[in-house]
């Protein structure tokens, strides 16, 4: 018969009254004595609801009288309380091997989840979004942008017709159909020289970009291919899905820990999303380059288009490498180098 005692405090039911007590364990019975040695309670093992062991916190026993008995944790006490308990968490939390295992596995699994699992799930999600939804989303987005950032184009009808022809040729070159892709012209002070693609195949190009590229056929076609690449690979849907799960994942993994950590969480969320976005930009770049090569065009045109971008936005300043994690696009010089390298490779094979 096990027999041992433990010091503790008895908190009475429905009141803040607290008595210093001594708990005597005898076999399956527990008797509680106050400082005057009066027995203030007698219980058996089954009727006690003990909260699970946690670190070195004192054990909390919820008694059937709705009193709370708090006693120091000791091996004897713990064994008595947990003999038939199924709770294994404390064992895991105090096992050195589990802790070491966790220290390694947590960062690795987080990287695996964010780098591979979430993008994979996002691609699956993007594939099942119905065309009707994409269409509605695109139309509403364009309408909203027309109210906010975009003005009607100032390009002459001639210019627009000519560029439309370039666009049509590009679409046919990638075996697309003109039913699914269409080009819109806009002017935008807010966006400057820019082009973007909407999920339903709508491509928008700003007057400023047309002028930057000097209406050059090859340069424009290179840009069109990049944008078509975004549509062909369902990038909009994919980025939406990635952003959604990333926000949720980060919020739930470390969101409990107070405002200070949430600052860091918000920052890492942005960094992660920028990684996803840059990945998509590389895919679109390489789609464009592959298509150009397949159609007998020189990828150097893509490099040239990027050169003009760079000159326009940055002048002679160098883009610091460190900035790349704060930006949604890869470093422009790297994109230029990539296209150039593939152009060199193509030439050396001839």
């Amino acid at each position: 018969m096990t027999q041992f005692t433990s010091e503790g405090t008895l908190y009475l039911a429905g009141s803040s009254k607290a008595l210093p007590v001594r708990a005597e364990f005898n076999g399956a019975e527990l008797r509680v004595f106050d400082e005057q040695q009066n027995c203030v309670g007698s219980f058996v093992h089954e009727e006690i609801n003990a909260k699970s062991k946690l670190g070195s916190l004192p054990r909390e026993l919820l008694l059937p009288t709705r009193e709370l008995l708090q006693i120091s944790s000791s091996d004897a006490v713990n064994q008595w309380l947990d003999a038939h308990s199924k709770a294994k968490t404390h064992a895991l939390e105090s096992s050195k091997s589990t802790i070491l295992f966790s220290i390694f596995l947590v960062p690795i699994s987080l990287v695996g989840i964010f780098k591979y699992l979430l993008p994979y799930l996002a691609i699956q999600f993007a594939a099942i979004v119905p065309d009707g939804v994409k269409s509605v989303a695109s139309q509403q987005t364009l309408t909203t942008l027309d109210y906010t950032a975009l003005e009607p184009s100032d390009l002459s009808l001639e210019t627009q017709t000519q560029i439309d022809a370039y666009f049509a040729q590009t679409v046919l070159a990638i075996n697309g159909s003109l039913a699914q892709f269409n080009l819109h012209f806009r002017q935008s002070d807010m966006m400057g020289a820019n082009a973007f693609a909407l999920p339903d195949g709508t491509i928008v190009i700003t007057d400023e970009l047309v002028q930057l590229l000097e209406e050059d056929e090859d340069l424009l076609k290179a840009i069109f291919l990049h944008e078509l690449g975004h549509v062909a690979h369902d990038h909009s849907m994919r980025l939406i899905a990635e952003t959604l799960v990333t926000s949720l994942a980060i919020d739930y993994l470390i969101g409990d820990l107070g405002a200070m950590v949430e600052l860091v969480a918000g920052f890492s969320s942005t960094v992660i999303q920028n990684q996803y976005s840059q990945e998509l930009e590389w895919e679109a770049d390489n789609f464009a380059i592959d298509m150009m090569i397949a159609n007998g065009k020189d990828p150097i045109h893509f490099a040239n288009a990027m050169e003009k971008f760079k000159a326009h936005y940055m002048g002679d300043a160098e883009e610091p490498d460190a900035v790349s994690f704060m930006s949604s696009h890869p470093i422009t010089q790297q994109r230029i180098d990539n296209a150039r390298a593939q152009s060199e490779q193509l030439k050396s094979h001839h």
Binding site: Y11, L12, A13, G14, S15, S16, K17, A18, K51, L54, G55, S56, L57, P58, T65, R66, E67, T89, L92, E93, S94, T98, I99, F101, S102, I103, L105, V106, S109, I113, V133, V136, A137, Q140, T141, T143, T144, I240, T243, L244, S247, L248, A249, D251, Y252, L253, D256, L257, G258, A259, M260, V261, L263, V264, A317, P320, D321, A322, V323, M326
Partner: protein
């Protein structure tokens, strides 16, 4: 006829125990007898003001846990959360909070965290669904997004209310739960209306709105039956806000000058950042400036609130947080977290909790040892989880 036990011979504590345990419907006679005896005891035990107001104990808070122990709990629970794709996160939250609350002690007694993981899990699932729908609406249908935003605005006082109610109810001290008994009406006025109206005063009324909000929260918080009462002054909020802003501006300007950045060309600030060094230093400067001003505000207001809040005739409080200490702890915590890729989070939390506990003092009267709590209904975890997903954080000090 019910045979009555000899309740007249019971001590006050025994009467309380019996009253709590009894089934009022099955034994109405006994219940009535107990209530009458309890009432007469209560009257006898309320000696007049001079004696009952006397402070019999004063004590500072302590934190009895340590970073190493908390780390092992935290990291293992984090692993379990990851391998269960987040489902275990509710259990992890309960264990983490039990450790932090349970190791926070004041006046010789520890706090308790009483939430049930299943409640939290259900709340989280609902929160995820709301959040996902809202996010998808923002990307697919600006109209649905607009409607949901308006709905969210109207609902946010409700979420804040539910969150406060839940968190208070899940906090226990000496076997009594805290309670929050605010209503949607009050929440709407103080969490929504007042802050909204500050826009019309160019935010000059913001400290007033903050004061009203904090006051509403304190005045509707109870410990068992007794209520908290606040005697805060709006002036202190203005001072705190003003000094925090001045502090932020001075430090910001000084650091920009130190880096040699000219503000004449505001648009070119980015371009003036030559090389990667300044671009990396810039976020840290923004962080330091933000932390400095928010630490000042937080320290000043927390001290003011604690120093001017009490539970009448039961307990009064003091807080002596130094804003520089607070700033240093927060700043070094964040640096440590970044450098260790998050592994320092448990130490950071322990350090902050310990600092705040040790800066807090309570003075109690004899009545603190005999507070009564009538039973109360379950709080609702959904509000808490939805609130945190949308960042409706009604934090006090």
């Amino acid at each position: 006829m019910d045979h009555l036990p000899k309740y007249e011979n019971y001590s006050y504590e025994e009467l309380l125990s019996a009253r709590q345990a009894i089934d009022a419907e099955a034994h109405p006679e006994r219940t009535r007898a107990l209530d009458e005896l309890l009432a007469s005891h209560a009257q006898k035990n309320q000696p007049k003001d001079a004696i009952s107001d006397k402070i019999i104990r004063t004590g500072k808070g302590r934190f009895l846990g340590n970073g190493k122990e908390y780390f092992s709990i935290w990291i293992v629970n984090l692993l379990l959360t990851i391998v269960t794709f987040g489902i275990y996160s509710a259990w992890a939250k309960v264990r983490n909070n039990r450790y932090i609350y349970g190791n926070t002690e004041i006046d010789g007694h520890r706090f308790h965290y009483l939430a049930d993981p299943v409640q939290i899990l259900i709340g989280r699932i609902i929160a995820i669904v709301f959040f996902a729908l809202y996010f998808l609406a923002s990307n697919f249908s600006p109209m649905a997004f607009g409607i949901m935003t308006v709905a969210l605005l109207l609902l946010s006082p409700y979420f804040a209310l539910m969150s406060l109610r839940f968190n208070m109810k899940m906090t226990g001290y000496r076997n009594i739960r805290f309670r929050f008994d605010g209503t949607y009406g009050g929440a709407f006025v103080y969490f929504m209306l007042y802050p909204f109206l500050t826009i019309f005063t160019l935010y000059l009324a913001l400290p007033l709105a903050m004061k009203k909000m904090d006051q509403y929260i304190i005045d509707h918080t109870r410990y068992g039956d007794p209520e908290f009462i606040s005697n805060t002054k709006t002036g202190e909020y203005y001072i705190a806000g003003f000094v925090a802003s001045i502090l932020a501006s001075i430090v910001f300007i000084l650091s920009m000058a130190a880096l040699g950045i000219n503000f004449a060309d505001v648009n070119d600030v980015q371009q003036q950042a030559e090389g990667g060094l300044i671009t990396i230093a810039l976020p840290f400067i923004y962080l330091a400036v933000y932390l400095l001003s928010s630490s000042y505000y937080q320290a000043h207001i927390r001290n003011h609130i604690f120093n001017h809040s009490e539970i009448e005739q039961v307990a009064s409080f003091k807080s002596s947080v130094a804003f520089i200490d607070l700033f240093i702890i927060k700043f070094t915590n964040i640096l440590a977290i970044i450098v260790t890729l998050g592994l320092a989070i448990p130490w950071a939390k322990v350090r902050m909790t310990r600092y705040l506990a040790e800066a807090t003092e309570v003075s109690v009267t004899a009545q603190a040892d005999s507070i009564i709590a009538s039973s109360d209904n379950e709080g609702n975890a959904i509000g808490d989880e939805v609130a945190s997903a949308f960042d409706v954080d009604v934090a006090l000090g």
